[in-house]
């Protein structure tokens, strides 16, 4: 019988020891041992009575540990925030093996100075310290209402501290909004992006001259960057330099042959360059693949107009309007067609 007890105690020792040596951040499925300790007023308090409705954090701390005090202050903030939601923090002071009156006064003074308001207990003989196999302070155990250990951390490590606090925050607030993922794909030259953005701003402000300069720089810095080329085409279009705009569109289509924005602009430019029939063909092809593009119908209407087919032109403008009522380009181009045909 003695042998069995001995083997069992050796097994227990190694079992607990191995737990201690494992990564302390990992959640432990074991239960937190119950204990009863005196509070500062000498009143016996048991763990079961102190458990929070949802979650409890047991912190083993001591005034001699700088990190202990920091962790106590951090947990106090959490306690204030989530106390009503069912969080309780239980501070177990493991100051020394024997706590005399002067030591007790020192502990109370520290607690007052740090304005700790969560329940605090004194481990007079370090029994709980031993029970929980605490080696270093602070050591925290996060447990649920059934005393199941959900999270364990010793010390005050940067990452571990963040993990502990995120664990508690997630418990009460749900999973935080995931940070936006970094864009995947080809990374555009950062200077080119900046010049493009400057060009975009200038274009918006109506300063085509400056916009053109910046967009050209952007296109030069990153020859595969399509956006400045598209902007350049738009600037040229605004300046009524149709052939220049067409050149930029061709450059874009060489880089990305199926880019719908460029194809649409190409159709529109063809219509402007007296190649209305080619434009009609191209725009009809685009509409066949995407029949929801109001702009395609709008440009098709314009192309029919340039081809002196007013009836079909008005019909296409009507289609465009049905898809996008508020697109200013539709009435603008329609009036251009009507005026052109009347004159």
């Amino acid at each position: 019988m003695k042998n069995i007890t001995f083997v069992f105690s050796i097994f227990l020792f190694f079992f607990l020891f191995s737990n201690l040596c494992l990564g302390q951040n990992q959640a432990d499925s074991s239960l937190a041992s119950p204990f009863t300790l005196k509070d500062f007023n000498g009143k016996q308090q048991s763990l079961n009575n102190l458990l929070g409705k949802n979650l409890s954090v047991i912190i083993f701390w001591a005034t001699w540990g700088v990190d202990s005090i920091k962790m106590m202050s951090d947990l106090q903030k959490l306690y204030v925030k989530y106390r009503k939601k069912g969080l309780n923090v239980i501070g177990v002071c493991v100051e020394q093996q024997v706590i005399n009156d002067s030591l007790r006064k020192k502990i109370i003074d520290t607690v007052k100075q740090k304005q700790i308001t969560f329940p605090l207990l004194l481990d007079y003989r370090l029994q709980t310290f031993k029970l929980y196999y605490v080696i270093a302070v602070p050591t925290m155990f996060v447990i649920d209402k059934s005393r199941k250990i959900l999270f364990k951390l010793a010390g005050y490590p940067i990452v571990g501290h963040d993990k502990l606090f995120n664990f508690i925050l997630e418990f009460f607030e749900g999973k935080p909004r995931a940070a936006a993922k970094k864009r995947i794909g080809r990374k555009v030259n950062a200077s080119a992006v900046r010049f493009y953005n400057m060009a975009r701003f200038e274009f918006k402000m109506g300063r085509s001259f400056s916009a053109k300069g910046h967009a050209m720089k952007a296109a030069k810095l990153d020859t595969s960057f399509i956006k400045p080329l598209l902007l350049l085409a738009k600037i040229e279009l605004r300046e009524k330099q149709i052939s220049n705009a067409a050149k930029y569109i061709e450059r874009i289509l060489k880089l990305k042959p199926n880019l719908s924005v460029a194809l649409l602009l190409k159709g529109f430019l063809l219509a402007k360059q007296d190649s209305a029939k080619k434009a009609i063909k191209l725009l009809n092809d685009i509409i066949r693949t995407d029949s929801t593009s109001a702009l395609a119908f709008c440009y098709l209407g314009y192309a029919y107009g340039m081809n002196n087919n007013l009836k079909q032109s008005l019909l296409e403008f009507k289609h465009a309007e049905a898809l996008s009522k508020n697109d200013y380009r539709i009435p603008l181009l329609r009036s251009e067609v009507i005026q052109g045909l009347v004159n």
Binding site: C21, R125, A154, I158, A180, K182, F209
Partner: protein, 444 residues
């Protein structure tokens, strides 16, 4: 009838066109206060007027009199325009609409920047790029340092500053980082993705960067670490006062060796997990300035899996101050460098930051430590004496192959004295080596 009307119409148009083609130097509709006087623009007078790319409306119209009022009974003498702003605002809407107004606008000196007649540049601005006008009043020294911001170099001041009026200080188009993110969209994306963002990056980029020109790379206001110390002066003082400094502070990117100045996934904007950062450099043997050899820590940790608590937490900062300290190996507190040390609590301040100081102060215990013989604390016996064994005598501070990172051997002069710690039924023994047959009875 229709044909006749068209003939008349075309005749009228053609006549008008020919007039302007044949007499191009004269503004055919030139009007002055006195309708009988000759046009202001002739081949001899004001000949260049209206020839540039952007012409003020009244000039294009030949309506010189709308701004220049002829004096009574004079043919070529005009009233002095006392208040230019007032004259401009008689046609244009006031530009002083926001809380902060550019000084020339406030003083009604529109012609400081705009040519009232014509210019080759949009909005009849006098010079292009617009910065050429700005520097007539603003000190251009601030734009001429070694590294110049893109818009400043391009002379595009108005990409950040409103030329007339704004609700933001310095007539900025937007406040704080929002203004910068207008162009630096890639940085905005990075910060959105980052879990921890440096406060100035979130609020005001100009805390660190000069928006015009500077002598330091990346448009920084000062060189690193001085720039960082502007705010983090506690670290500066700490570094100044300390006896031992981490080399990482002075080599390569200095502070930026470990911290991202904008945003990162880890606290204090560390660019990687703390221990990973340390092992980026400590993955080889190194020699300190004092000639001390530092071990290849990465290799040591790979080969020895019984790690000290802070290492298990991937936190070297548990024992080392990553910046500087007064103790060897930039330890945060005192720790005996040698094998033997007379015991005082202060000697082991580093260990007693986390571990019970009474561990080595109480001779009898059943709870403080498992390293006991009955209720005799063997920690006390080993450490608390005149020729006490330092913690390092038995524990490998970083990692070992034995439980509680106990050493396999102790350097004893030229001999690596084996500890030979083995668990026994009654606790354990360290023999032969330090002891002959002493057992450690663990009473759990």
């Amino acid at each position: 009838m229709k044909f006749l009307l068209s003939i008349i119409f075309f005749g009228f148009i053609l006549g008008g066109t020919l007039t302007t083609t044949i007499f191009p130097t004269e503004l055919s509709t030139a009007k002055t206060q006195n309708q009988d006087s000759p046009s202001c623009v002739t081949s001899k007078c004001h000949a260049s007027m209206g020839k540039e790319a952007f012409v003020h409306g009244p000039v294009a119209d030949g309506d010189c009199g709308s701004c220049h009022e002829l004096l009574p009974n004079e043919k070529h003498k005009f009233k002095h325009i006392k208040n230019i702003g007032e004259l401009c605002y008689s046609c244009h809407d006031s530009k002083a609409t926001e809380s902060i107004v550019h000084k020339p606008v406030m003083q009604g000196k529109c012609i400081t920047c705009h040519d009232p007649h014509q210019s080759n540049y949009p909005f009849q601005i006098k010079k292009n790029p617009v910065s050429k006008i700005c520097v007539t009043c603003h000190n251009k020294n601030m734009f001429e340092k070694k590294f110049v911001h893109g818009p400043t170099a391009a002379g595009d001041c108005i990409i950040c500053h409103e030329p007339h009026t704004s609700n933001n200080p310095n007539l900025l188009v937007q406040t704080g980082s929002k203004l910068c993110f207008g162009c630096h969209t890639e940085m905005k994306d990075d910060l959105v993705a980052a879990k921890k963002v440096h406060k100035p990056a979130r609020n005001n980029c100009t805390d660190c960067h000069n928006p015009h020109s500077t002598d330091f790379k990346y448009m920084l206001k000062n060189q690193i670490p001085n720039l960082c110390f502007n705010c983090h002066n506690d670290i500066e003082k700490h570094v100044e006062k300390s006896l031992v400094r981490h080399d990482a502070l002075t080599i390569k990117k200095k502070c930026l060796n470990c911290h991202s100045p904008h945003g990162a996934e880890y606290s204090m904007q560390l660019t990687a997990q703390p221990m990973t950062l340390c092992l980026n450099c400590h993955d080889r043997t190194m020699t300190t300035k004092n000639g001390e050899k530092l071990r290849n820590m990465k290799l040591l940790l790979e080969k020895n899996k019984a790690w000290h608590g802070p290492i298990r937490n991937k936190s070297c900062t548990g024992c080392h101050d990553v910046h500087c300290s007064d103790f060897f190996r930039i330890l945060v507190k005192q720790y005996p460098a040698k094998f033997y040390a007379a015991f005082t609590e202060n000697q082991y301040a580093l260990c007693f930051n986390c571990h019970q100081p009474t561990l080595a102060e109480v001779a009898e215990t059943t709870t403080l430590t498992g390293f006991r013989e009955g209720d005799r604390s063997l920690h006390y016996i080993h450490v608390n004496r005149k020729r006490g064994r330092a913690c390092r005598a038995c524990h490998q501070t970083h990692a070992s192959k034995l439980p509680f990172h106990i050493r396999a051997a102790v350097p004893f002069g030229k001999w690596m004295l084996p500890i030979n710690y083995t668990k026994t039924k009654t606790g354990g023994k360290c023999a032969p080596g330090c002891h002959l047959q002493n057992n450690i009875r663990e009473q759990l």
